[in-house]
């Protein structure tokens, strides 16, 4: 079976570069699964999880938005930030989530501020989801 080369680059480093069987990306219009020989595609990403499948192994990364360019043999993900579950500071993410919620609950808030808080919220939720998933997997084992 043909494989897909996946390269994930965040602002400050190359996070991932390997052959994979498939990858699920969180786009603005919902999650899409990418298999090898995918049609040429450029899409923007929303905060969420990137699920990478290599054989029977699944790696999950938290992504906070960005872009992806997909070619039949190679997918390039340009993420604003992409983190492995181990790298995520759960406490910080939770605090960020709380703070964002508080900001959004205020009444006299500007539109831009609300949008920024909403984006923060989505990012921290994506991070927390990845962490929780990893934890539950561990418990199961």
């Amino acid at each position: 079976m043909s494989k897909l080369i996946l390269e994930i680059i965040s602002l400050d480093k190359q996070v991932f570069n390997d052959e994979v069987d498939s990858v699920v990306l969180p786009t603005e219009e919902g999650e899409i699964g990418i298999l090898p020989k995918h049609i040429h595609l450029v899409t923007s990403l929303a905060p969420g999880e990137i699920k990478i499948r290599q054989g029977n192994e699944e790696t999950v990364l938290a992504c906070s938005g960005g872009f992806a360019q997909i070619n039949p043999d190679k997918a390039i993900v340009l993420a604003d930030a992409a983190e492995h579950a181990e790298e995520i500071d759960e406490q910080r993410a939770e605090e960020a989530m709380k703070k964002a919620r508080e900001t959004m609950a205020k009444k006299d808030i500007k539109k831009e501020e609300y949008a920024a808080a909403a984006a923060d919220l989505r990012r921290s939720l994506a991070r927390l989801k990845v962490v929780k998933k990893r934890k539950s997997k561990r418990a199961y084992r």
């Binding site: 965040s10 400050d12 786009t27 603005e28 040429h40 450029v42 360019q69 070619n71």
Partner: protein, 304 residues
Amino acid sequence: MASTRDIKRRIKSINNTRQITKAMQMVSAAKMKKAQVAALRTRYYANTALEVLGSIAENMQAEAHPLLNKREVKKILLILISPDKGLCGGLNSNLFKKALRFLDKAKKENKELDFLCVGKKGIDFSKKIGNIIAEYEKIGDKIKITDATSIAQIPIDYFTNAKYDQVSIIFTEYVSTLKQEVREQQILPFEKDKLLDMTKAGKKEEEKQEKEILEKSKADYLFEPSAKQILATLLPRLVDMQVFQAIVESNASEHSARMVAMQNASENAKDMIADLSFTYNQARQANITRELAEITAGAEALKK
């Protein structure tokens, strides 16, 4: 020959200078390491992002986004990225030479040119020769991507409002500790050839890779949700990225150049001190010999 006291005074003053240059060298070396890491860390992202854009550029029409809009150039905005301080070898003069050449060329072609300056040296320089629309100081060492975003917003807005028809950036690219290169880059409107130019210079790609990009660019890309929406977020982001990259590169160049300049200065001071000490000892020796000669001559005279 100068008196021993004069020479001694000079040695002391050069020694003081040397202490200062030595200290500056140490400080720069520490900052240099940090700045170099910062420049290299984001370079990969910036280059890949440009490559991605370059490869989809073929399918983009100028109408797809205001930032792609190519029109007759009458007014140019030049973003000049410079250090805040001097004492970094030929870095500043090379940078300004390039800026002057750029200005001359624009004048010859009857284009107006305004400056947007990052860095104090560049502000001082531009004030003398042109009009500055915005200036930033002291951000090199602790720049965040959000800072670059707010700087980049200015050219983006002005370009969209057709106040300027072209935006270029001049900065010093960091190649190695010993080598920095001044680069001039057009960032708006986006043009494919120029984009590829930048990625090429960034890492000296092999030809094969280049071909690959060109081949890829022929493919028909699907845009999701739509080309317009993607470009609307991708293009401004790339401008931010380019500005950011230029600033961190300049910063790395500045500290590298300063470290090397200060190292040379310290070494020169050391040489000078060695030379002067030699002259001092000679003068001292000559003094002693002369005094001895005088004493013996006096004694000889008394004997008779």
